[in-house]
Symmetry: C2
Subunit: 140 residues, 2 copies
């Protein structure tokens, strides 16, 4: 199975990529002397891809388990190496669930399945980073 | 140096991540029975991050080398493994330059610097994938 994208330089420090699903994404970087940004940072996009990939697994599995009525967010922090090429050598994912009477057992099971079996982006991250996760249940 | 993002589940199969630069990005996946997409795929976003990271290096280096008057795009194709967790085990990046009297030597030097020294996302990819590159000069 293949994925293919095209990334076009739009001038300055701005790049636009298409996506097989039809949307586009703009990526750029900080430019000295200006705060203006047109897109997201490639390295931060890697962390967003990691969270979204795992999050998609988790909500899919919970749907199959008939678990609903919860809110869910993830914080992802990556530590970059000091020397070029700078890559993430440590990554921490905090899964936060909010709701009444959260089914902690099923939520943990869904996250375990993503981490251990399904999430391809996490498998990629594990090849270059120490990945740690923590689950937080916010019963309201 | 740390990068931190927060990814929030927006319902359905849709996730929104913030970015240290202030923009946001929506990621989702194909849902059976509908063509509607709200965002980009996490795995394709990994390829976009790879292209944009390297592209940023290349235009920065070419700017320092006083090379301008060119257009530039990249095609990135990744091959996923067949078994879960599905990760990219082969990646090909095609760098395409368009212009009159392209300075092929300096363009190649800029790409080599990105590939071998600066691009952190490419260093991450090399830990899980065989990465191949090719440069195409379209003198017009």
């Amino acid at each position: 199975m293949y994925r293919k994208i095209t990334t076009e330089w739009k001038g300055g420090m701005t790049f636009e990529s298409d996506d097989p699903g039809g949307k586009t994404v703009i990526m750029d970087t900080e430019v000295e002397g200006t705060d203006e940004r047109f897109g997201i940072s490639p390295k931060a996009a890697m962390l967003s891809a990691l969270a979204s990939c795992s999050g998609l697994d988790v909500v899919s599995v919970l749907e199959k388990m008939k678990v609903s009525d919860y809110e869910f967010k993830m914080d992802v922090e990556g530590e970059l190496t000091q020397e070029h090429p700078k890559y993430f050598h440590k990554v921490k994912i905090d899964y936060h669930f909010f709701g009444q009477n959260l089914n902690e057992k099923k939520i943990k099971k869904a996250i375990d399945l993503s981490v251990e079996k399904y999430c391809g982006v996490m498998e990629m991250f594990r090849q270059f980073a120490e990945v740690n996760i923590e689950i937080h249940y916010h019963n309201q």
